[in-house]
């Protein structure tokens, strides 16, 4: 792979390659839920892994590097959201009828999911991804986001309430579309 002239490739820390190969799909899926598209998800994951690389050998918990990488991911995501204009304009263009069981319903359902996540404030969305997709505990989620367990519970409850009311998502929550 090409690099800039005169620039040497940084030394690869032990275990880093195994981690990236094993966990990048899961991290990318989390990134997709956070950002809503694959290029941004990949950018987010690469940003987090690039930031983790120099510190890999001195991780506080070498047995749980994923917690550290996810922490960088979610904080990077929150920073991006702070920088970007976030016009949360309500819309009704959400799937209202679906033919379940075919691939197009699947696509529609994913769009409904992303649209519902788009309507969440960034911290609520982060809690949804860390707590309910990455299966982190409330304490781990709180540590990643730099907030209290109570705040995680609060963000989670508010997010659930918003998702519950999101058009097209209620039937999905009860198992509408086959994967």
């Amino acid at each position: 792979m090409d690099t800039l002239p005169g620039v040497t490739r940084p030394a690869e820390p032990d275990g880093f390659r195994d981690f990236v190969e094993a966990r990048s799909p899961a991290l990318l899926r989390s990134g997709w839920l956070l950002t809503g598209d694959w290029p941004s998800a990949e950018d987010l994951v690469q940003t987090a892994l690039a930031a983790a690389w120099p510190r890999w050998s001195s991780l506080e918990r070498p047995d749980a590097p994923e917690l550290y990488v996810r922490k960088i991911m979610v904080n990077t995501f929150l920073r991006w959201r702070q920088r970007r204009w976030n016009g949360e304009i309500a819309t009704g263009r959400l799937p209202e009828t679906q033919a379940y069981g075919d691939v197009f319903a699947q696509v529609d359902a994913r769009q409904a999911l992303l649209a519902a996540l788009d309507r969440l404030p960034a911290r609520q969305r982060a809690v949804v991804v860390l707590r309910y997709f990455a299966d982190q505990t409330e304490a781990q989620t709180a540590a990643a986001m730099g907030c209290s367990v109570g705040a995680v519970k609060s963000h989670g409850a508010k997010a659930l309430a918003r998702l519950r009311d999101a058009p097209g998502l209620a039937e999905l929550l009860t198992g509408g579309v086959a994967s």
Partner: protein
């Protein structure tokens, strides 16, 4: 976890797709090496480890009194503008935003290209900072990092216009820079329409009502806003729901078709279609016909301005026809059940429907666009141009993979003798607007 939380967990695992490619250590090493080579600090700092945590001296918060208000307002604009260009790493020279807001809410960027004199550039001259795209056809180069939604890029009045999530962009074809941005509803993906000297976009599209907003095509100042009542549910596809010609806009308004005059900025006519919802609309190049796709799927042809039904044809599919484009030879569109090909209905009758090209594939979708002298069909495998008269494929160019990542090119609009398209790849930081040479067969 309670039942609802478990349902959400299940939903997230069920609905989140597998990524199209993986991140590799080489990707990260390449990124680190390039960042080091450019002498840049990483854009994103990692959280500090506990053992090295030190408390920084707290900065005194300045006293932002009323005298600071103008400066703060300008700074806020910079944040807004900079946000949209946050991914423009390496291309910042032609997408710097340093402007101010206009009364219409427009975000302006006054500096187009420090490395090139955009103001004096002839149309078709692209900034020297364009990034060549490997294995992409017709000398494709990436000229900005604005991810224009495929099928929404149009050209007119000396500019390109397209939507990206949350914004309507005005792009200078001379260098690819986004000159103005106006915020729009993030969920609407329908292309803008140029009528007279105004560019119109669907800025809100809900079953409770739709809003069309008109902007001066040069300054992007808002000049009009029209609320259109919606009868029934709006099209889920929401692609190609707005058309326009000769002082009139046509909107798919649920089960209705609405006509809006750009002279009076009022709804002048609205009628109900039993086979609704109306999914997409297009006007013929001469403005004398209006085409509408409804339900699953009926294609109607109306006369303009009388709006008498001239033709009706139906096919039975498990999908809706969207992204309608009308040419001299007929009507083009997509089917949501098979959006990797584009169909062409000669004479606007579905009985004679043919598929044109197989331009897309995994990770991409085909959308027809009529610009210049050809109909363009993009995708992740090939870029096709076809005759607007008979649907015959005039040229096909394959789109290769870049470093193992699929590339997408589509939604072509021709301006200044060059073809512009939405570009994305599954590799990081590779999405934006690409410019290509128009092949002679498509010119």
């Amino acid at each position: 976890m309670n039942t609802e939380e478990r349902q959400l967990t299940d939903l997230l695992h069920r609905m989140t797709p597998e990524p199209p490619r993986r991140v590799t250590v080489e990707d990260i090493a390449f990124r680190l090496a390039n960042e080091a080579g450019q002498g840049r600090q990483a854009q994103s700092r990692a959280p500090r480890l506990r053992e090295s945590r030190r408390r920084e001296p707290r900065r005194r918060r300045p006293n932002w009194g009323p005298a600071w208000a103008p400066a703060l307002a300008a700074a806020a604009v910079l944040v807004v503008a900079g946000g949209s260009a946050a991914l423009a790493v390496g291309l910042s020279s032609n997408s710097h935003h340093t402007g101010a807001t206009s009364p219409g809410g427009t975000v302006t960027s006054s500096s187009a290209a420090p490395t090139t004199s955009s103001a004096s550039s002839a149309p078709g001259v692209v900034s020297a900072s364009a990034v060549p795209l490997k294995d992409a056809p017709y000398g494709a180069e990436l000229v900005n990092r604005h991810k224009i939604t495929p099928g929404t890029l149009i050209s007119g009045d000396g500019y390109l216009f397209g939507t990206e999530p949350g914004f309507l962009d005005q792009i200078d074809p001379a260098n690819g820079s986004v000159v103005h941005q106006v915020p729009i509803n993030t969920q609407v993906t329908s292309a803008p329409v140029i009528v007279d000297d105004q560019v119109w976009a669907v800025t809100t599209y809900t079953s409770a009502g739709a809003v069309l907003t008109g902007y001066n095509a040069t300054t992007m100042q808002q000049v009009a806003s029209v609320t259109v009542p919606v009868n029934g549910r709006t099209s889920f596809a929401a692609a190609g729901v707005l058309a326009g010609a000769d002082h009139n806009l046509y909107l798919a308004a649920g089960d209705d078709i609405a006509v809006v005059s750009t002279v009076t900025d009022k709804v002048t006519r609205q009628w109900h279609e039993l086979q609704g919802p109306v999914n997409s609309l297009a006007t013929s190049p001469d403005g004398t016909k209006l085409y509408a796709s409804l339900g699953n799927v009926t294609l109607l042809t109306y006369s303009v301005p009388g709006f008498a039904t001239l033709d009706t044809s139906t096919i039975s599919v498990n999908g809706v026809a969207a992204n309608l484009v009308a040419t001299s030879g007929g009507v083009w569109g997509t089917l949501s059940e098979n959006d990797t090909t584009v169909w062409f209905a000669p004479g606007g009758n579905l009985a004679n429907l043919v598929h044109v090209g197989n331009a897309s594939g995994a990770n991409g979708y085909a959308v027809p666009s009529y610009s210049g002298s050809a109909v363009w069909i993009g995708g992740a495998q090939a870029l096709v141009c076809a005759s607007p008269a008979n649907g015959k494929v005039l040229a096909t160019a394959s789109i290769g993979q870049a470093s193992g990542a699929a590339q997408y090119l589509g939604g072509v609009a021709v301006a200044g003798g060059r073809a512009y398209a939405s570009y994305s790849s599954s590799s990081a930081q590779q999405a934006g607007t690409a410019v290509m040479t128009v092949p002679s067969a498509c010119g």
